[in-house]
Symmetry: C2
Subunit: 367 residues, 2 copies
Amino acid sequence: MTEEPKQEKIHLFTPGPTPIPEQVLRRMAEPIIHHRSEEFHTIFKRVNTNLQYLFRTTQPVITLASSGTGGMEATFVNLFSPGDKIISVNNGKFGERWVSMPKAFGLNVIELRYEWGDAPTPEDISKALQKHPDAKAVYLVHCETSTGTYTDVHSISKVVHSQSSALVCVDGVCSVGGMELRFDDWELDACVTSSQKGLMVPPGLAFIALSNRAVDVMKYSKIPKYYFDLNKALESYQKNDTPWTPAITLIQGLDASLEMIKDEGIESRWHNHTMRAREVRNGVTLLGMKLFSRYPSDAVTTVMMPVNIESKRFHELLRKKYSIYFAKGQGEFVDKIFRVAHIGYHDKRDITIALEALKKVVTESVT
Amino acid sequence: MTEEPKQEKIHLFTPGPTPIPEQVLRRMAEPIIHHRSEEFHTIFKRVNTNLQYLFRTTQPVITLASSGTGGMEATFVNLFSPGDKIISVNNGKFGERWVSMPKAFGLNVIELRYEWGDAPTPEDISKALQKHPDAKAVYLVHCETSTGTYTDVHSISKVVHSQSSALVCVDGVCSVGGMELRFDDWELDACVTSSQKGLMVPPGLAFIALSNRAVDVMKYSKIPKYYFDLNKALESYQKNDTPWTPAITLIQGLDASLEMIKDEGIESRWHNHTMRAREVRNGVTLLGMKLFSRYPSDAVTTVMMPVNIESKRFHELLRKKYSIYFAKGQGEFVDKIFRVAHIGYHDKRDITIALEALKKVVTESVT
């Protein structure tokens, strides 16, 4: 591996954006089409069907022109009314956001706070629901991007439905398309993801799978909304249309990526992600490094920064010498951990490259 | 011009999306970069400077990942509080939206309603302000996409500032980048546009130019918001950053398109749009057709559907035989008018193609 100072190939292992397949880039580079046309409706119909395949659901999946944060906002402003009580798990930067965001809209948020790298158990949620039987929803982060931490959404969903009528709402931004998630079987009520992680499309699209129960509930929401009004979005969705101008080229790219996901098969894809994640965890452990998260996800691996190198120098070396892009930590862990994303368009060879570069950087700075 | 049934080149004359230049397609097809990186900050800094050039302003221009409708929502939810009175001009489908949207957020909306194709005069606005001296803003649509109607924003802004302290807020979605608009000289307070019209980029980005007065006012807004919180956006903007994941590839495409606009020169660009618009208006008039709007804009020309042909057949012929895409009307005028957009990436030759096809379709259906 020699230095190639100019026009290097970028090897992205960042948790969004993830690398974009050539097939997707090509589709997005085609001449643009008008969105109020048969051509677009045909594409969007196929996309909508494939999104259901992705989420393992027969219920609607809405597409919005926004980031994942906009998608999450859409759940809060459509499913509740001011004063409604919800339970929200905060075990990282995104969980933190799903506490402050609903508060901004006047919800009564019961925050379940965890150390970064930790995750809620079904028992924790059960106790919280006993204490707050009037909670209208439980919010969970399937994979907390800031810490690479996995939450057992399936088991928690069972507990929630067994003892309350609360909705189960999931931030699946960093998991859908990579980690096992079965919207219908797990009886989820809302699950949000975005285009730039497991879906291998540039950022700019958010997706919300909704249960029929959620669709019913959202008729009664009293929070002011317009752009993110899911009743309007759902009405257009039934006609393979959107209420506002959709992000056409991103949807064309999505069409290509969903076909790739279907070709791979969603269950094979989950399996392949699990294998790659194991390889990364084994690799860093063999290098004598310590995993940060107590519940490592199969989408992002977080690793304690080795003591012999500073964070800034570490990332600089990786980028300049090996053209490898990992992510820093976030919040107070910004320089204490580093993050290796392996969700999306990666294969075994990419993992080898990443581990090889990591080994060299760590070894170099030892000597 | 012969029939080419397969893989035809699409000639788009739709008012968004407009054709995307090859330079922009190419930039968007480059390998994706991470947004929390020097590479991205460098691009976004240049983009932000060029957006100021575009709007003719030295004040901030915020970029959002949303459609233009999201950008307009950001103005309502950031500049006002529930119960605030605003005057909103409704002279078409978009004006209609800028009445219903602020109502959804609890504003007291004084609707100035006009026939489609008509536009407000400075005197109308002056009278409305005399009647409602407590109005906190006047909302205008610079070019009403549904009718191709031009509103004299400059003269109206003068009137507003001469007799009140109301903010002047402008829907510039269908005008910015094509029609003359001088944010600072005209003393506008908020002006929204989106990526897919004058900016020649696919849909998915909204832009909001804000006056320092607007920036000050938005500190006091009491409407709940999060994704569209412009205070958060402005804080990130100062660091050439965004609070949420930006639509990276669209911003890269925008970087290319803004360089093209700078190369053309914004004033030449306005002039070229005016010339093309004249050519279209002259052309359809010479064909014996009647313009729909009383105040035709230089971005979109709306024409009464000829009596000898049905709307459906008209558009089908144009598309299938000549590969020309005009737009239907909207609302009650869906089949009564047709719309020819000439904003964005067009040149004289394109106008010739459009008029030629139009002539043939009209002549054919006469015989």
